[in-house]
């Protein structure tokens, strides 16, 4: 009993055709992104409830976030989204050198993002804004400000972990791209990694205004 031979060597044994395999992997990634939407959703729920309860404290706490670094990070992540999209395009059109270039650019930008994020965290550490024992910030709304920073650290921390996972996956794809594995007939992994990376960018697109930009118009806000 030999299972039917495959015309296309790049189709796994359980699939009939390349299209079926490609659509399955894309559908699989989108369903995984649905779970990520619900995962971050729990945090957005906590943010929404407490923002409405303690609006003033959240606005006061948001002053202590550095909009400049946040803005730079948003720019970095959007650029990395562009380079990732170009990488997918390069893979689809069998331009291997460009694929390697764009993937490397995306990796570099990802590291820059983490670097800026580390700098921000160090500032918070020095200002005593890390929730828990190290929280030395004092004002009438001290407790709710600590609540804000708890949500801030969980959200951006979780997002940072997803960036790390993304770096791991893109590095793996880069290695395989250098070995010339991806071309027009077979580029699912690049496509799927692109989906994941753009999703991480979308999460940051929401995090930035929600955390960094509330209450900036208040007089005296730096």
């Amino acid at each position: 009993m030999s299972h039917p031979e495959r015309a296309n060597p790049y189709v796994s044994h359980q699939f009939e055709t390349a299209t079926q395999q490609r659509e399955a992997s894309i559908l699989g990634m989108w369903i995984f992104l649905a779970t990520e939407i619900m995962f971050f959703g729990g945090l957005f729920l906590a943010y929404t409830i407490y923002y409405n309860m303690y609006t003033d404290a959240f606005k006061e706490a948001s002053q202590h976030l550095d909009v400049m670094l946040g803005g730079i990070n948003t720019g970095v992540l959007i650029t990395s989204s562009l380079t990732m999209a170009m990488a997918v395009w390069a893979a689809q059109t069998s331009r291997q050198k460009l694929l390697v270039l764009f993937l490397s650019l995306t990796l570099v930008l990802a590291f820059v993002f983490l670097g800026v994020k580390a700098v921000e965290y160090m500032h918070k550490f020095h200002d005593g804004l890390v929730p828990g024992a190290l929280f030395t910030y004092d004002s009438p709304r001290r407790d709710q400000v600590q609540l804000f920073f708890f949500i801030y650290f969980v959200m951006t921390g979780l997002h940072g972990v997803h960036i790390l996972i993304g770096i791991g996956v893109i590095a793996a794809i880069l290695v395989m791209a250098i070995k010339g594995k991806f071309h027009a007939q077979y580029n699912n992994p690049v496509d799927v990694t692109g989906l994941y990376w753009h999703f991480v960018d979308v999460i940051w697109i929401f995090l930035f205004p929600l955390l960094y930009l509330i209450g900036r118009y208040l007089p005296g806000a730096h």
Binding site: H3, Q20, L27, G28, Q144, V154
Partner: protein, 564 residues
């Protein structure tokens, strides 16, 4: 998600390339005898068996905890174990049973085994992801086992804050990590099923020709995908709050413990539908086969599975009527909880109608299904009592609730799981289980179950709270507890029996042939145990599911599978 890239000669899978000459591809059980061939398999059937072994172990572990609880409650005073040990016992009973047995059981064992077979595919959409989901389950189980061995956890299976975050000093972190990891196994299984059912159906297998078991698996997977991450984030927040000392659920910071309950129950109520929907899928398969009749109202049963999956997400607030949740939110949740009961009622009526003018045989799967329908009806209707606002104020978190969810989970889910195991055992192992012992176990389980959990309804309405190590020694509490403990022993024996004769029949059972029940369905079209790639040629489906009635009992050759 990335597929393998080596040129294909068996899918680049270690199982086949290891020693291609000796591998017997005609029987998945004999395709490789090394431990490595089992532990690195990507064959959905073998992964199904791996899950079967691991969750059976978990079931008996949870059963031991249950036995100890029942023994302790024989007497009003807490004289068997200390209070903290008792608290750990019911917490671990809850965690092991819910997260490590009920949620994975039918989806991971039978779903893994049957979904590709039933849709005429060679394997799951992502075989290696499927194996990864088993390993993630095992890692999660190891963390939780360590927590149990190292001293247990006493926060109840719900981890309510602020007890779980600031007051519990048992192994909460380790258990939370175990459950967090186990959640991914549930997500990966669900993801695999949805993609497989969408993308890999055999030619001609349209949605409304699929067996109802697949509809149930599809609906279950939707819940697993959309619900599990939310409990993941809830447990993550509890973990971070335990580390930092402060958190979003901390009342000192103006946080609100009820927010944790919202996040927790948003998953945990749909989780009870993760547990019962697969059982309903099994009942549709078994009742048609043993009454030799078309299912009654196929579209209604199919759609009601999806309805349960979606409306199930709107009702979680009925767990929180007494927490000071706003009465108006209580109104919304109570109304929607009644709505979600309707599809379950439709299913039960349709199953009963299927028997009309059928040719009913009483083999073990059918007996278990009769038990299911009887007990699930009582469980469902008592659920209505808990959804009624006025009554829930009295019976919330009493033994009435304990009885209700045991009626639905043990009476419904576990009996359906037993029916499924008996029904597909010949297909999985190629051997028959001993019929007489099977019927005896069905009867023992049914009787033992009633004796255990019916008294708890009365106990609950009398006001005995849950999680109580000691109880007042008057007003008739003790009589009911003694009855319940007696029932528990019969129930325990009833469940030990199948374990013994299944193990025996795996080696010594008489060969079962390809289709011992003359059942319809693609999985019965192939040999049993099935070959590694399930089908000689991808079958082409031409007739609707459960096409029993037209041909009566003689199976006309090839009428089902069109040989090209």
């Amino acid at each position: 998600m990335s597929t393998n890239v080596q040129p294909h000669n068996g899918g680049g899978n270690p199982l086949y390339t290891a020693n291609p000459d000796v591998v017997d591809m005609s029987n998945y059980l004999r395709a490789g005898h090394t431990l490595r061939s089992w532990l690195l398999t990507v064959d959905h059937k073998r992964i199904g068996l791996l899950y079967l072994i691991s969750i059976t172990f978990m079931f008996f572990l949870g059963g031991i905890f249950a036995g100890l609880i029942r023994l302790e409650l024989m007497t009003p005073e807490g004289d068997l174990v200390s209070s903290s040990t008792y608290n750990k016992l019911f917490t671990m009973h809850g965690i092991v049973m819910v997260f490590f047995f009920l949620i994975p059981s039918i989806p991971a064992v039978l779903g893994n085994f049957l979904v590709p077979l039933m849709i005429g595919a060679r394997d799951m959409a992502f075989p290696r992801l499927n194996l990864m989901s088993w390993y993630v389950y095992i890692i999660g189980a190891i963390f939780t086992m360590y927590a149990i061995v190292a001293g247990g956890v006493d926060t109840t299976w719900r981890f309510y804050t602020p007890y779980s975050t600031s007051f519990a000093n048992t192994h909460v972190m380790m258990t939370a990590l175990g459950i967090f990891i186990m959640g991914f196994s549930s997500i990966l299984t669900g993801l695999n099923f949805v993609v497989t059912i969408h993308r890999m159906r055999a030619p001609g297998m349209t949605w409304f020709r699929m067996p109802l078991f697949l509809w149930a698996m599809y609906a279950t997977s939707i819940i697993q995908i959309l619900g599990t991450p939310v409990v993941g984030i809830a447990i993550l927040l509890v973990g971070v709050e335990r580390i930092l000392g402060v958190g979003v659920f901390n009342p000192d910071l103006g946080g609100d413990p009820i927010l944790f309950q919202h996040l927790f129950w948003f998953y945990s109520h749909p989780a009870v539908y993760i547990m019962i929907l697969p059982g309903m899928g099994v009942v549709s398969e078994v009742i048609t086969c043993f009454s030799r009749k078309q299912i009654f109202g196929y579209p209604f049963i199919a759609v009601s599975s999806l309805l349960i999956a979606f409306v199930g997400f709107f009702v979680w607030g009925h767990h929180m009527f007494v927490t000071g949740q706003s009465p108006y939110a209580g109104l919304i949740f109570s109304a929607l909880s009644f709505l979600v009961a309707i599809p379950s009622a439709i299913k039960v009526f349709n199953w009963t109608a299927t028997l009309y003018r059928g040719s009913v045989t009483f083999s073990t799967p059918m007996l278990y299904v009769f038990g299911f329908i009887g007990l699930f009806t009582i469980g469902g209707l008592t659920g209505l009592m808990l959804a009624t606002l006025g009554i829930d104020m009295h019976v919330h978190d009493t033994y009435f609730v304990v009885a209700h969810f045991h009626y639905v989970m043990v009476g419904g889910m576990l009996l359906a799981y037993m029916a499924a195991l008996h029904f597909w055992w010949p297909k999985m192992t190629g051997r028959m289980y001993p019929e007489g012992w099977g019927r005896l176990s069905a009867l023992m389980v049914f009787m033992g179950f009633h004796l255990t959990f019916f008294p708890q309804f009365i106990l609950g309405y009398l006001g005995m709270p849950r999680h109580y190590h000691t109880y007042p020694d008057e007003a008739g509490y003790q009589i009911l507890h003694v009855l319940s403990t007696a029932g528990a022993t019969v129930l325990g024996a009833g469940f030990l029996l199948p374990a013994i004769y299944f193990a025996w029949s795996f080696f010594y059972g008489k060969p079962a042939g390809d289709n011992p029940w003359l059942a319809k369905g693609l999985e019965w079209e192939t040999t049993s145990p099935p070959p590694v790639f399930n089908f000689e040629k991808t079958p082409i489906v031409t007739e609707p599911a459960y096409n029993y009635s037209v041909h009566g009992d003689e199976v006309s050759e090839g009428s089902h599978v069109v040989a090209p």
